[in-house]
Symmetry: C2
Subunit: 200 residues, 2 copies
């Protein structure tokens, strides 16, 4: 077992805090990799091994495996929001909106696996991710409104409709996980359904 | 406990067979009502009570509650197929296709509840309903092909895409169960996505 950060805290604790933050960030990055590759059933020991730290270090940051899974899920939502925000700045509104949909859909199977693992552990996923989820929804609302103003998305669609459509698309794509061509066609149907209908 | 059909079988068994079929059909009809109203957790005793027969009669036709649930699910799939077949005869192909989608979507929450109850009882739902499911898929293939030939549905959509889209729509509508206006808009998005895109 390594003892990498069991040394007594220095009195000037600002640098240590930055260190601890970096360690936490590293652990989350590694945990996301490990859980994505081996599924949420992968062990905390495996995360420690790949991160090259002792198991005690992992448990100091995340007292339980559920806490670690939850932190990974929250981080995914935050990253998704960051990606959405940068898309808003870089592309025209319609392109930003549809690029964001692609991103959500790509993230969806892994997110669902994390969420299911947490739910199986008896954790209220909605509550556990409420802050990050709300942040993501706020950004989605801006993406949607901008794309509608630009005429790229049907004007009557509201945010809860969009969220449900994305949940449905996740279930649809899970069903077609082994059929990529079919998945692509089915997703095109749903995405095109969001575009305005010709008035003719 | 009633003894309605415990009398010895007559030698001319043709009429009794017809009777038994009618009894079975009546039990299925009542069971569907009871399970739809009270959820798949409702008891077999309740089904017997509403059907006004003894519990022994129910168990003679359906040895376990799972057998009864499974028979109700199979019957729903068969009725859906019958409805699809009659739509094919009565309406123009595009109208038949979209009316059928509405019907599937209306049936979907109850069907999912039955399927979940069976899966929880350790029954392979896919295998248990394979014949009825295949029959329904065959009829859907005709509906789809006719609607595509009539130019009412995108030509590139294939049957597995459509099945997955309907599964996704089921998950989407389950999420919006308490928000009918949102559910209607979200469903319109998915359904309109199946229509051909203007080439302009």
């Amino acid at each position: 077992m390594t003892t990498d950060d069991r040394t007594p805290r220095p009195t000037a604790d600002k640098p240590l805090r930055a260190d601890a933050r970096r360690n936490r960030e590293l652990l989350l990055e590694v945990a996301e990799q490990v859980f994505t590759e081996h599924g949420p059933g992968a062990s905390t020991e495996e995360v420690a091994r790949v991160a090259n730290v002792g198991i005690a270090t992992v448990f100091r940051h995340f007292p339980t495996k559920e806490a670690l899974l939850q932190a990974v899920l929250v981080r995914r939502l935050e990253k998704l929001r960051e990606a959405a925000t940068s898309m808003l700045g870089e592309r025209e509104p319609g392109a930003a909106f549809f690029a964001f949909l692609d991103l959500v859909v790509d993230h969806s199977p892994v997110k669902n696996a994390f969420a299911q693992a947490l739910a199986q552990a008896g954790i209220d996923v909605q509550a556990a991710t409420s802050e990050a989820g709300q942040g993501l929804r706020d950004t989605m609302a801006v993406l949607l409104a901008d794309a509608q103003r630009a005429g790229a998305v049907r004007p009557e669609v509201e945010l809860p409709d969009l969220v449900a459509i994305l949940i449905g698309a996740g279930a649809m794509l899970e069903h077609l996980a082994d059929h990529p061509a079919s998945a692509r066609r089915a997703l095109t149907v749903v995405v095109d359904g969001l575009r305005p209908r010709p008035t003719a």
